[in-house]
Subunit: 301 residues, 2 copies
Amino acid sequence: MNYAYLKQEGNDFTIMKINPGENILKEIMKQVKKIQIKNLIVDSASIESWNTLTKFSNKNIKLEIDGNLIKNMRKIKTSEEINHLRKAGELTMRGMQVASEVISPGMKEAEIVAEIEYSIRKNDFGRIAFETIVASGKNSAFPHGSFPSKEIKKGDIVVVDVGAKYNHYCSDMSRTFVVGKTSIKQKKIIQTVQRAQKEGIQGLKDGVDAKYVDNVSREIINIEGYGDYFVHSLGHGVGLEVHEQPIISSASQDKLVSGNVVTVEPGIYIPDFGGVRIEDTILIKKDSIEKLTTGINNFEL
Amino acid sequence: MNYAYLKQEGNDFTIMKINPGENILKEIMKQVKKIQIKNLIVDSASIESWNTLTKFSNKNIKLEIDGNLIKNMRKIKTSEEINHLRKAGELTMRGMQVASEVISPGMKEAEIVAEIEYSIRKNDFGRIAFETIVASGKNSAFPHGSFPSKEIKKGDIVVVDVGAKYNHYCSDMSRTFVVGKTSIKQKKIIQTVQRAQKEGIQGLKDGVDAKYVDNVSREIINIEGYGDYFVHSLGHGVGLEVHEQPIISSASQDKLVSGNVVTVEPGIYIPDFGGVRIEDTILIKKDSIEKLTTGINNFEL
């Protein structure tokens, strides 16, 4: 269907048309035989696709599956990719800025989402990397909860998680606001998460074990007694997908290196009370880091 | 991560927590053994997941893969699903109405997309089923093209493809507008597509072969000499996903039956000139059809 478009845009590629009723994998294997590829590595395939590939293969072709082949390549970003990721970060911060301006008592969560996404989309190249999360009051205790018809109330904690996309590259940022005066308990949790994020970011270094960085943040939350409420890993890679490798978790085998772009996003979620998450997307460099999202640190609206 | 949320929302299900480092498929196979399931049918699995399932299975369990098991069940919608699809259609029409109101010379494609999606999102339950397409001028010749920084010009054809989601159910609607006075060639193409859509919709009947319906529309376009420019199939099922079964194409083996919800969307795409697509989402009933999207038939803005 997109043949004409790809012919125009895909200059470096040979574009072939597959007609209705033809099997794309069969056509691929025809090309593999024609140009005599001896070792074909597939990065992902359903069991059915794999069976089709095997069926149209032959003994001269070594078929392999390696789910990490492309994922590993994608862990380290090129300077061109980093430029796209910077722009995605700028658009994301714009969306978060709008959130901090519009959140007020009486507004519905869905209306806030609409304003945030509108501010990103009206830019020529702003796309949405994932459905914006606005979770207020007790609902903020669900990391990915969203209750669109819920109205914001005075005293509510509001978790906002925004991601814009620029030229196919994503960004990811969360802030937690309080509408009106912050209670002592809210303040304690927010400041704990702020500190866990700050220390986690300081732990990001070329060559460090990802699980060590998770531990740095997690320990701060543990010490304050909220360890059971930090129910997810500290962060993840960001690139063409909003969640990619490396993973920053207690079980991660990844080593962080220069060129990785990762989130650092500690959170505390207390059932029937509320949640707090603070997240930025960060580039790891040889001797430093660069925050691709930053700012909007005022939490009391 | 969403354990607390699912515990609250998933009343009919047993919700289990999988901890970091645990393998979800291994945990599933534990349950399969525990409740002595003898025949486990999986609807989709990557080759790696399949290997994991096999590894943790045993000779008492018959493992099977059937990619159509769930897809076939989903072809026929329940009355509850139809209600959600109706609402999704209403939200989609609202977005298209906004498109017809805001499209004007000087506006960028991205700005029109922002307005459409905002109008859907600001409703409590309006979500976006897919990235809205606004393709104007020569770009409209690419069925899924989008050039966000392009400004609308007088005389441009503008293809708009919108899909809202309500309670997880999608809708899909396209209209083609002309900004200012329609040229003779534009009018001929638009009217041909209008007629092809109308006849295609009239072909929808409980028990009809899907490929017959594709042929009804395609013949009208063939006769007018645009057959080579109708580069996609006539339609597809719509439900939890915006593209699902049944497929209405020349190669389709599907029979359409009461309870199917499908699109009818003929299109003509002429390189270096422009494209036209008109699409509605339609419910097939026992002795009639119900348009879940309809109206906004004025094409000259």
